[in-house]
């Protein structure tokens, strides 16, 4: 709504400046987008240079055919000579003149000039040059005989300020100058003029024939007939106002209808009465197939929902939206029918949408215009038509149905204060409402003025009126007095943040991609009527495609190290009305190097704790390079992204990654030292069966874990001593993991294992495969258990328990003799290391070891062990370089391996150079194998046989010393039990 301020001030008397009015309206009524200053600027005496002039002489310019040379009296002693390009005036015309020095609305300063040899001492102005209208075909001729020299500003609105106000849709009353004036009056306590328009006398006796067939669509129709109408251009003041309000002047009658609409907010229409067939007006719904041509020249095909104005034969206008071409008021029209009606909003809105026809009229009707406004508008229009066209008012009709009574709403002043949060005195509340036109009774029953009936129906609506008139800026800033607090994130929200943070920490940047997709390219072009969500499983989904597109964009932009992720919804068909929405959704990452999809996994593993993968060749993944567990992960299938590697991960929305537990229970870190472990179960299974575990053959092809394992021997090879290649591998990696996909290698390994265990190769003992030599333990009770475990771990192996001479005999162990365990019958012979080994040798056992209950095996033990079995000619102490300190050292090894990126793994240890007996592992080469899956690790823990190894070599052969550590039993309440035991076995390839 554009509101010329001079017009506004005609209706309301306030002392406030335009800026003040604008500021206040912006807060309390509607957004004032700007104040436009148009026309002649009133500054530096500029107004004084615009005068009324009278043309004294006008004739052809002597040197130009198209110019007139005029002498114009502008109230000075001498008339001025002015050259003018227009010919629509002659001597005696009263014109608007700008004198040299004047600044015109377009910003140019007028100067005395010579035009074709004649001096032009000023300028005769046209409407458009003054921005009073759009007519620039000729100069502006003032009709009244005004004294020359009169300041032009006294005659015409030279300069104008226009408020551009954007009203909300609930305030159709403010789509009028008078409506805004009412607001200004209320806000500034100004004097509001009476609504414009008063019927000038009585109408004639020819009431128009108006029939309303649809009172719902048209509750009221005021029709007025005027005869002897002289259609002409409007006077300058009218043109100026309409132009300033943003409309185009057309003719006096049309301009009057527009002027009244702008002034009152009630759109009007004027028909050329003579063109109405049957001389009657019918307001009805359109007939099927009915059509007519609207003012804009378009043929409109109507549907029965459209409300139309018809004459006796057919539709002539869209009710409230636009008139018809046939009945248009045009030059030569002599009688007009003025329509001041009221139309129901929704029908107008629908018609206007249906026909894509939005006009000033429809804009007001669709928001709901006060039906009581029609007579007022008609009166104002009548006044003006009579004045401007010299017409006679021939007839009047006011057809109407039931008009709604103005609503009455009760107000509690306390309620206002409670909602607003500010004590507003009752008198102020009453005053605010009354200034807005509400009739407030003594018991606070407020009768809503008819122009606000659409918007104000409840007490809360009155609260808003009071608050905004009283002043929103007076409301203080407070925070709620809380009775409850909820300030925590839900677990899945915390998880989302965690996943985001972990991925960001792993170098991924977050992307946002659109969740809408065109169903296909054709439909995209024709603007689909409905949205297409990218649903999983649909052809538009292709998981990760938007991210690949984002990656491609980055590639094209020359960015490097592209790692992206996104967490967003997926929409799944649920079988019900609404799709199932799942979140969070992580999508994969494009990358440049070859190994990084696994980075996604490692990144996600952290929040969810240990995620293994199983092979998966999901839709978007490379069939041989994909994995799945809580999502899908892998290399993207090749065609999508050419040779650049693209890895993808998509977490399955429902169950993964798992939310962090509500409460993490402390796990003891002191009782058990960190140990290097491998899986004894698989190891022993392999030994027992003489073959690798079934897991070996489970899946063809490479998995990432295999890739990692494959590296190990290679690294060891470069550093380790010269030993048989196969035998060296055996202890370093789990056998089932070796040689996968390489049958010949596997055979070699199996053979090596078999020979080590079953004695194909050089054997040391004719009696048993391996002898495990268990110490006498301090807790006699546990010996049977120890033996059972040993047997469980090493089936088919003889177990010898030796009393090492300590005072704690193990009488109960003695009973085990018959079950495959031997307890030395010669305790004293076993005393000391050498004694034990000699005993074992005497008995043809392969190896004797002594293990302490604390899990620490003295390094000398192994040296001694080795020397005991060393072939002749090998110097003692040199042939074995290993330490059973592996247990302790492997802690270092483990942490080193972790740093090296292996993750917690089982570590074998290998001596490098000669052992000084103190820290033999210091320079040890290290090997880390992949950590067993967490489940088997847990099982391991249950079965309690972590294992570490040291390998020894001698000039003649290599062999491996294994240390098997059995579980540390918990010290149950009141029952002291053995806490650890260890056996050492020697395996010779």
């Amino acid at each position: 709504m554009k509101v010329p301020v001079s017009w506004l001030r005609e209706y309301v008397e306030v002392s406030a400046t335009t800026q003040q009015i604008a500021d206040r309206l912006a807060i309390a009524t509607g957004e004032v987008e700007r104040i436009v200053r148009r026309g002649v600027a009133d500054e530096n005496g500029n107004y004084g240079l615009f005068k009324v002039g009278r043309v004294i002489e006008a004739g052809k310019h002597p040197n130009a055919d198209r110019l007139q040379l005029c002498r114009v009296d502008v109230g000075e002693a001498e008339p001025r000579q002015i050259v003018c390009g227009a010919w629509n005036f002659g001597p005696g015309a009263t014109v608007a003149v700008a004198l040299p020095g004047a600044v015109l609305p377009d910003g140019n300063m007028l100067e005395q000039a010579k035009l074709r040899g004649e001096v032009s001492d000023g300028m005769i102005l046209s409407e458009s040059e003054l921005e009073l209208g759009s007519d620039h075909s000729g100069i502006l001729v003032l009709s009244d005989p005004i004294e020359p020299g009169t300041p032009l500003a006294d005659v015409l609105p030279l300069g104008e300020e226009v408020l551009e106000i954007e009203m909300t849709r609930n305030r159709p009353d403010c789509l009028s100058v008078y409506g805004i004036a009412r607001e200004v009056a209320a806000l500034f306590s100004g004097e509001l003029a009476a609504p414009p328009g008063r019927d000038p006398g009585e109408p004639g006796s020819e009431p128009p024939d108006v029939t309303i067939e649809d009172y719902e669509g048209c509750p009221r129709y005021v029709g007025r007939l005027f005869t002897n109408v002289a259609i002409a251009p409007s006077p300058p003041w009218l043109k100026a106002r309409i132009t300033a309000a943003g409309m185009r002047p057309i003719s006096n009658v049309v301009d009057v209808t527009n002027y009244v609409m702008l002034a009152t907010g009630n759109p009007l229409h004027a028909f050329d009465f003579d063109t109405l067939r049957g001389g009657k007006i019918v307001v009805r719904r359109a007939h099927k197939g009915e059509e007519f041509t609207t003012l804009d020249g378009n043929l409109r095909k109507l549907v029965p929902e459209d409300l139309v104005i018809a004459d006796a034969e057919g539709a002539i206008a869209f009710a409230g939206i636009m008139g018809g071409e046939d009945t248009e008021v045009r030059e030569g029209t002599t009688s007009i029918l003025l329509e001041a009606a009221n139309f129901e909003p929704i029908g107008i809105l629908r018609s206007s949408e249906r026909h894509a026809l939005r006009t000033e009229g429809s804009n007001r009707w669709e928001k709901g215009v006060d039906p009581h406004l029609a007579p007022q508008a008609a009166a104002l229009a009548t006044e003006l038509i009579l004045e401007l066209t010299g017409a006679q008012w021939a007839g009047h009709v006011d057809a109407k149905g039931e008009l709604p009574d103005p609503p009455v709403v009760s107000l509690r002043t306390g309620r206002v204060n409670r909602v607003v949060g500010l004590e507003i005195p009752p008198d102020d509340q009453r005053g605010a409402l009354e200034r807005l036109g509400f009739d407030v009774s003594s018991d606070w029953k407020s009768t809503v003025p008819t122009w606000r009936a659409v918007d104000v129906t409840r007490e809360i609506d009155l609260v808003e009126e009071v608050a905004r008139v009283h002043g929103l800026e007076k409301i203080p800033f407070t925070l709620p007095t809380r009775s409850a607090m909820f300030g925590t994130l839900a677990p899945d929200q915390r998880l989302r943040r965690l996943v985001e943070d972990v991925l960001v920490g792993a170098g991924f940047s977050e992307a946002y991609t659109l969740s809408l997709a065109a169903s296909d390219s054709d439909e995209k072009r024709s603007a689909p009527r409905s949205a297409h969500l990218r649903a999983r499983g649909s052809p538009h989904d292709a998981p990760g495609r938007p991210l690949v597109a984002a990656a491609r964009h980055n590639v094209n932009m020359g960015n490097e190290a592209i790692r992206l992720f996104e967490i967003a919804r997926v929409y799944l068909p649920s079988g019900e009305e609404l799709p199932e929405e799942r979140r969070p959704r992580s999508r994969g990452s494009p990358r440049a190097a070859s190994r990084r999809p696994w980075r996604c996994r490692d990144a996600l593993r952290r929040p969810q704790g240990g995620a293994g993968l199983r092979a998966h060749d999901g839709a978007f993944l490379h069939p041989g390079k994909g994995g799945a567990r809580s999502g899908r992960l892998g290399r993207r299938a090749p065609p999508e992204h050419s040779r650049r590697g693209v890895g993808g991960l998509r977490a399955r929305p429902r169950d993964a990654p798992r939310a962090p537990p509500e409460r993490i229970v402390y796990e003891d870190v002191i009782t058990f030292p960190a140990l290097a472990r491998t899986s004894p179960s698989s190891w022993t299974r392999a030994r027992r069966q003489g073959t690798s575990s079934a897991a070996t053959a489970r899946r063809p092809g490479r998995t990432p874990r295999h890739a990692r394992l494959r590296r190990l021997p290679r690294r060891g090879h470069s550093r380790g001593p010269k030993v048989d290649r196969v035998s060296r591998r055996v202890p370093l990696a789990r056998p089932h993991a070796l040689g996968r996909g390489r049958p010949e290698l596997r055979e070699k390994i199996v053979a090596a294992l078999g020979s080590a265990v079953r004695g194909g190769a050089p054997r040391m003992s004719p009696q048993a495969d391996t002898v495990v030599f268990s110490p006498a333990l301090n807790e006699e009770e546990s010996s049977p258990g120890v033996l059972d475990e040993l047997r469980g771990e090493l089936p088919g192996v003889d177990v010898l328990v030796v009393d090492d001479g300590s005072r704690d005999r193990t009488p109960s162990s003695r009973g085990e003799r018959g079950r495959g365990a031997e307890l030395s019958g010669e305790p004293r012979a076993c005393r000391g290391r050498r004694g034990r080994y000699e005993y074992a040798a005497r008995k043809h056992y392969a190896y004797c070891g002594r293990v302490d209950a604390d899990g620490q095996h003295p390094p000398q033990e192994l040296t001694a062990c080795s020397s005991a079995f060393a072939p002749e000619g090998v110097r003692r102490g040199r042939s074995v370089r290993a330490s059973s300190r592996a247990t302790a050292t492997s802690r270092t090894a483990t942490s080193r391996a972790r740093r090296a990126g292996w993750g917690p793994a089982c570590c074998g240890a290998r001596s490098g150079s000669s052992s000084d007996g103190r820290s033999p592992m210091r320079r040890a080469g290290m090997y880390a194998a992949a950590r067993p899956p967490s489940r088997s690790r847990a099982a391991l823990h249950d079965r309690g046989a972590p294992r570490s190894r040291a390998s020894c070599d001698s000039p003649t052969r290599a062999f491996v010393v294994e240390e098997v550590r059995f579980n540390m039993r918990e010290r149950a309440a009141g029952e002291s039990r053995i806490s650890g035991k260890k056996a050492v076995s020697l395996v010779s390839p």
């Binding site: 957004e31 929103l472 792993a506 977050e510």
Partner: protein, 331 residues
């Protein structure tokens, strides 16, 4: 034994030891088990010579200790002066990712409201018209219900045009008081231009309690704006119209660039428009079964992209969806 001679000899040997090894040699020679001193001590039979020899031993031991101290501190100093690392060498760079700017704003807003004791709710993005329009008191004539402005999947299902439906769900599911914000994607059928995108993110807040006032709304939003745009920010509220609030207010924040002096960001008004807010319309409360006489509430909605663009001076919204790492890495 020539105590004096032995002492002179030993002291000079200790003093002349220039390395720890030499000192050790000297110690062994003069104080070791087989040294003359120790031999002599073993053979001592009278207290006087024993005392003499023992004090000599103590003196020598002390001399050794002092010398050792000296040598080791010299050694330490030498090592400290010799061992140097060029600390100006570049370190090993660890790649760091970046959260999307909108996510960062989302977290900030979440944190502000978590601090105020609000719950964060993730609502649905696909809603029934019932929740998206009817429950929010949108009249049937409201333009948002038109296919020209909203994205419909079918007649009854629409991509949510604001995050407000989640308020209805929360209120339906629980009893007052309610303090919540809902942040997420919303969908409008707009032609993308510099400041409009058919998909954008909105934060919607709702507080329903006994005695909630417009003043509380003003204070809460002021707190948020100061958290986002700086503690000097002021706010003003303009009357407006939204179907789901009555009275409705449009919040403006004082321009953080020019502090109200006028600049391009605030279009020379000194104020920046942010979104919509107001007191929850009694119809909405009644709809979810709350008694509007007992409970009042306020609600507001602000676009996250708008906050991000304003605060960081992004001229256009489009780049936020392009995922260009050159942009992502700036934040």
């Amino acid at each position: 034994v020539d105590v004096q001679g032995l002492e002179n000899e030993a002291q000079s040997a200790i003093a002349s030891a220039s390395t720890v090894a030499e000192l050790d040699d000297a110690r062994v020679r003069y104080l070791g088990r087989k040294s003359a001193l120790k031999q002599a001590l073993r053979e001592v039979r009278d207290p006087e010579s024993g005392r003499d020899l023992n004090t000599l031993r103590e003196r020598l031991e002390q001399a050794v200790a002092e010398r050792e101290q000296m040598l080791s501190s010299e050694d330490l100093e030498r090592r400290l002066s010799e061992e140097q690392v060029d600390v100006t060498l570049p370190g090993q760079a660890t790649p760091r990712g970046h959260l999307h700017l909108v996510t960062q704003v989302r977290r900030e807003v979440e944190d502000v409201f978590l601090g105020l004791g609000y719950r964060v709710v993730d609502g649905r993005e696909v809603e029934t018209t019932h929740y998206n329009f009817d429950a929010l008191n949108l009249p049937t004539t409201h333009p948002a219900r038109s296919q020209l402005q909203s994205l419909f999947l079918n007649e009854n299902i629409v991509l949510r045009t604001e995050t407000s439906p989640s308020q209805i769900h929360v209120m339906e599911e629980g009893e007052p008081p309610v303090y919540m914000i809902s942040i997420g994607r919303v969908y409008r059928r707009e032609t993308p231009d510099a400041t409009h995108s058919p998909i954008f993110h909105q934060v919607e807040g709702l507080a329903v309690d006994r005695g909630i006032t417009m003043a509380d709304l003003k204070g809460t939003l002021l707190h948020l704006m100061r958290a986002l745009f700086g503690s000097e920010r002021e706010m003003r509220f303009r009357t407006h119209y939204f179907p789901f609030t009555e009275p409705s207010l449009e919040p403006d924040v004082s321009c953080f660039l020019c502090s109200g002096q006028g600049c391009a960001v605030c279009r020379w008004s000194g104020w920046i428009e942010l979104g919509g807010s107001g007191m929850v319309d009694p119809n909405v409360l009644e709809f979810v079964g709350y008694d509007p006489e007992e409970w009042t509430g306020f609600a507001f909605g602000i676009g996250l992209e708008r906050i991000a663009m304003l605060r960081h001076g992004l001229p256009e919204i489009g780049p936020l969806w392009q995922n260009d790492l050159r942009l992502l890495r700036q934040f």
